[in-house]
Symmetry: C2
Subunit: 626 residues, 2 copies
Amino acid sequence: MFKKVRRILVGKPLKNEALQDQKMGVLWGLPILSSDAISSVAYAGQEVLMVLIPAVGMLAFRQLSYISIAIICLLMILMLSYRQVIDSYPNGGGAYVVAKENLGILAGVTAGAALSVDYVMTVAVSISSGVEQFTTAFKGFKPYSVVIAVAMVILLMIGNLRGIRESSRVFGIPAYAFIIGMVVMIAAGFAKVAGGYVPPPAADMPDVVKPLTLMLVLTAFSNGCAAVTGVEAVSNAVPNFKNPSTKYAKRVLFLLSMVILVLFGGSSIIANIYHVNPSHGNAMLVMIAGEIFHNTKFDFMFYYITATTFIILVLAANTAYSGFPMLISIMAKDGYAPRQLSMRGDRLSYDNGIILLSVLASVLMVVFKADVSKLIGLYAIGVFISFTLSQTGMFIKWKRSKEKGWKHKAIINGTGAIVSGIVVIIIAFTKFREGAWLVVILIPILILLIFKVKKHYEAVMRQLRLKPEEIANFDINKAVYRNRVIVPIESINRSSLRALRYARTISDNITAFSVVIDEADAKKIKEKYKALNMDIPIVVKYSPFRKVVDPMLKFIESAEYDYQNGDMITVILPQFAVKKWWHRFLHNNTRYYVEKELLKHKHIVVSVMPLQLRDDDFVLNSRKYD
Amino acid sequence: MFKKVRRILVGKPLKNEALQDQKMGVLWGLPILSSDAISSVAYAGQEVLMVLIPAVGMLAFRQLSYISIAIICLLMILMLSYRQVIDSYPNGGGAYVVAKENLGILAGVTAGAALSVDYVMTVAVSISSGVEQFTTAFKGFKPYSVVIAVAMVILLMIGNLRGIRESSRVFGIPAYAFIIGMVVMIAAGFAKVAGGYVPPPAADMPDVVKPLTLMLVLTAFSNGCAAVTGVEAVSNAVPNFKNPSTKYAKRVLFLLSMVILVLFGGSSIIANIYHVNPSHGNAMLVMIAGEIFHNTKFDFMFYYITATTFIILVLAANTAYSGFPMLISIMAKDGYAPRQLSMRGDRLSYDNGIILLSVLASVLMVVFKADVSKLIGLYAIGVFISFTLSQTGMFIKWKRSKEKGWKHKAIINGTGAIVSGIVVIIIAFTKFREGAWLVVILIPILILLIFKVKKHYEAVMRQLRLKPEEIANFDINKAVYRNRVIVPIESINRSSLRALRYARTISDNITAFSVVIDEADAKKIKEKYKALNMDIPIVVKYSPFRKVVDPMLKFIESAEYDYQNGDMITVILPQFAVKKWWHRFLHNNTRYYVEKELLKHKHIVVSVMPLQLRDDDFVLNSRKYD
């Protein structure tokens, strides 16, 4: 039943070969890789204002300009740094790889842990912000924000389990649509003011104005840093570009930075002119669009901006759906995460990773009520930790290689590392109470867990590995095990005879074993057994409620059974295979318990023998085996 | 881990012999068997008033007196009827047994289904009413009613899993405490009025008075019928009495009826005098106690009444915890319920039945917000259906036996049956919309399910049963199966060699089977396998993601494998046994999936071979088996 539902939702399995994708150039590379980065325009500026306005009122808009300039500088530094990552890692230079290779495994694992946290946050923040855009335009849906947000995550999960490819061109179109819409809106905003329009004074501005403290500015800056998250996406995706891939990748990275510059800078200036006052459930971009386009013949542009912003935010979340499972699968292949996460599902997607990401993001959204302002406290710190580690790794790489021009390159990456590091400290400091503490605690715990996982896998590998001489000297015919069989018998019926017959084919040392609750019971089974006239001995033991495991283990250890080193005891358990799913609840299923308990003993093999039952009046449908 | 928690909560397992209990006489029999019946005094009268007051105001109190008289007559008829059940069924005459024996299996199963529903309702109604008493005295807890109610059920569940015995004398004391308290309160109530006290006019009485319709009276009567539920408990428990058990049982039944008469009748008259206006969250008994004892030097009596009422209601729920699992286990032994429900747990209690009852009652309380008025619509109908069937069964029994004085006896049970039947119709009619429809639908569905279960068990039994000639002609040495082995190999390691060695001890016809994803993979495994220098052939198949089940089944069906009728194929699967619980998540656990899929085929036996892994730097701790 579950299988059918799964098939309908997720689709038919795909073959291995379907993995190959079309490679991308600049035209499609830009929109496909940019959604995470450009979508942050929808919340970064707004969250800066939401920190500043309640404290300093109208003064906030000027501060927004300054902070925007600082963030754009940060963006340029990162852009230059990542150009060099692209050159050095044409096979994709994620922070995990770069840090692991150059700084060692601890740094790599730290970057991996930080990035994992970041991906989860990307989903939570982007979807929450997307829902906020939507409910700003359609206020009636505001009470259902959390439900809508979780529903979006479920849709993304299903889509990704079906194996939608991030690199599919269809995802490029909304990015262009958003960029064009934003550029139009910014231009129209300037034009309207130039045409003599005087924006109304901002609503709900606080009367009391507090002093503008450094702490306040840094807190606002921390929120704004969300704008540059996503620039690393290009360097991760170099192998997806056409040849010469590094050239195309660098070009896309440059263009992406320019787009962010224009959109983030432009929307900051427009916000300054139209001084809107965003709040939870009132998204800045949608408010600006309303200001500019409402009551004009371009009213449709208001819905266009709302729609494209919503879609680009959903797509941004979708990038995490390819990033997170991929990262986790690389770490799992290295033994740093549960192995199941490295396996592709039916549709060639990393199913377990996709489900894990959806669950974590949903939990966050429910806990934080899909409130972007609350979630943003946890965001960005993970990204900047991975930026710092990746850039530090690059710096060390240049220093070690001492190749031509290394000093120049080292300075760029070194600057990137220092600046990112400073941002980490600023965010950790200003946002500590708003949630960054959670991330600060979570990442070390994750690192610890990751190393525990690795330790386990290494121990297992050591235990399974064969020495060359063990292979050379292997002799299958050397008798190592003595094979003995125990057949538990509840009553003398078709099933138990079948088990005894099978036992006879695998061993000459068989014991039938029965557990009874009283004398009468014992006598009955012994008599019936005797009637079968076999040379296989039966052992009958007493136990309340016919519990079989303990008496059997006791019997095996007893002198009566004469267990010897090297004896491998096969216990044959019948399994009733029923036709209807609910019939399963009608059988004890003690088989599972007995099997689990017996398998704790290294000298016991459990053989499960299926017996197919029908509900109609037939004899066994496997007559030939009776 | 789960095991440890279980041990702490539920306690150590008990031996079979602990089942014997002390037999009871009248002194302890009365309180122990009465809690269900007498506790209904706490809600039956109140729910009569809650139907009448909103419609007819002060007139309700007079109607309460009439209805009480009718219910007391009903009680007397039932008492006389059940005296005869006690005489006829000294081994315990539950409705299921009486109806099955005299009216046939359909009636028996119907009674069983009705009683099961009733037991669940007893828990839900008693606990909800208990919590209501408590929150009437301590209003601050009212918002947490549902939480407290569910917590109480969980406590009862744990207590019963530990195996508390309903017949433990400790449960007799609160019943006496409650009876004494009630008698004192009723007496004090009369004395206070006789002393010149004039009770204040009832609060919140409606001004508009509607006409007193028959429908209204019958609805109120239906609610009041809850007062007589529980009288059948004595007839179920005859074997628990000292000899002569039927004599003691009849004496207890008589005393019990008298107690209900005094408490129910008395509290109705007192309610009439003090005209309290109960509502959800304002329990009548506690309000009366407040009226009588508040602002007197007997104020402690208010808390005494609250506490003993609360405790007696919890104990009433507890009677369902012995009744329900016992009933279900009897039905399960007859094959009318899943067999697991017939098995006693570690502590000699019917664990599965106890858990099932707790879950169902909790769901009801959550859905109906622990509101007695809403739950009572579902109550009583089940009880009266079983009364009707049981009394009809007795009537038929007398008619058939024609023993001395049968006519007299038949008249008594016949009257019981007719009266109970009328009550069923009244409840179903008046309470249909308030929830009785649920029971009316549920019981036939339950009956259908029960017969489906029986049908399945019978089919299974027919398939397992051996004919005498099959036993006589059985020859274990007649070769029926040809034994072949397949050893799936993921890579050449210690675990796969161990599986191959074991395979060699059980068969001479072995095939190693490996699934690879590409040519390189295939070459690697073939080379490694060759180095082992064995005479066992290896078969290598391609499959995306190394999925093993489908390729293996295909291989078995292929000409290459040459499968013959009578071949029994043993597939050996290694199972990693890990030391720490969380390590389980680090292994694929595909074993479970593979096992499940393979066991769908009647000619495949799955042998699971455990391999114990350690987390420290050891080789296998079972060196002797390598």
